[in-house]
């Protein structure tokens, strides 16, 4: 990872990935980033970062109960903008069972070409929701289709749980000035 000063934009957060956090951070990103990147790149970033934040909020094995009695996942996120790329990195705890499922799912999606991804997207649109999915099962497919980059994952063992690190890269056309 390069020195912070070489980044055009850097953001990090560790905490509860609640719906209110999503609303607040969307406002911040819109304010902070709209002058840095083209509109279409911002829209792509917005799509990916929302999917990744909701993913941690729904599926992190570490949950926190909020004052309104709603439960959300705990994790962390980094957003790094360089000359050529946006990187979105999230970390959250998962179970061993989740590790196998996520590995299988992401490896499969990363191996598909554009036509295969489109076919799978359409198939998932019309299938019954996966039993453990709140996102309709198409979030990762759409991230890969829209960014045209694979999703990178790795795992770290911590006590009885596993830390999932996920990275999505968006190619950027940075505007002058």
């Amino acid at each position: 990872m390069a020195e912070l000063s070489t980044y055009k934009y850097f953001y990090e957060y560790e905490g509860v990935f609640s719906h209110q956090y999503l609303l607040d951070i969307n406002e911040k990103f819109e304010k902070d980033l709209i002058s840095f990147v083209e509109h279409k790149v911002f829209k792509l970033f917005f799509f990916c970062v929302n999917e990744m934040i909701q993913n941690v909020g729904f599926y992190s094995a570490e949950k926190r109960l909020m004052e309104d009695s709603k439960e959300f996942g705990y994790g962390s996120i980094k957003v790094i903008l360089t000359e050529n790329t946006f990187e979105i990195l999230t970390t959250n705890l998962i179970s061993e069972e989740q590790q196998d499922k996520i590995t299988e799912k992401i490896n499969k999606l990363n191996s598909l070409n554009a036509d295969e991804l489109k076919g799978l997207y359409k198939e998932k649109l019309r299938s019954d929701q996966e039993f453990d999915s709140k996102g309709g099962g198409i979030g990762f497919i759409e991230i890969i289709r829209k960014t045209k980059n694979p999703i990178a994952i790795n795992f770290e063992k911590t006590n009885n749980l596993i830390k999932l690190n996920m990275k999505v890269v968006i190619n950027v056309g940075v505007q002058n000035g």
């Binding site: 719906h19 999503l22 609303l23 969307n26 509109h39 279409k40 829209k43 792509l44 917005f46 799509f47 929302n50 999917e51 909701q54 489109k118 997207y121 359409k122 998932k124 649109l125 019309r126 929701q129 709140k134 996102g135 309709g136 198409i138 979030g139 759409e142 829209k146």
Partner: protein
């Protein structure tokens, strides 16, 4: 049958479904805290309209942003309208997009591929 009107919020769509005219509008951004909870009354209203009113449906979709689970619900609504059309009803879908919003345009184009009732992509 009552109209269905829901005010737009930062993360949920504005809804204006008219039971007399069949003019239905969904507009704004959709990344609800619970997507099923938001879309259930919308889908239920349409089902009731198609069963009881049995009139023309014109669905106007004016999206700024849809998360993946919302896309799935919009696709489900389009499928229900397709079945209604197949049963002989008059159905029209108008998908609005901004000139510089390729993402929303592509989403509409892909949905249109599987629909054979009047489906118009309209630049705002």
């Amino acid at each position: 049958m009552d109209n269905l009107i829901l005010a737009k919020t930062k993360s949920t769509l504005g809804v204006n479904f008219n039971a007399s005219s069949g003019e239905c509008v969904l507009e704004g951004s959709s990344f609800p805290e619970n997507t099923s909870d938001f879309f259930k009354p919308v889908t239920d209203w349409l089902i009731k309209y198609m069963l009881e009113v049995t009139g023309k449906v014109t669905l106007n979709l004016k999206f700024d942003y849809l998360n993946s689970s919302s896309i799935k619900f919009i696709s489900d609504i389009a499928d229900r309208l397709q079945s209604y059309h197949n049963a002989g009803a008059e159905v029209e879908l108008k998908w609005y997009y901004d000139e510089n919003d390729e993402d929303i345009l592509e989403m509409g184009q892909e949905l249109k591929e599987d629909i054979n009732f009047p489906f118009n992509l309209i630049m705002k």
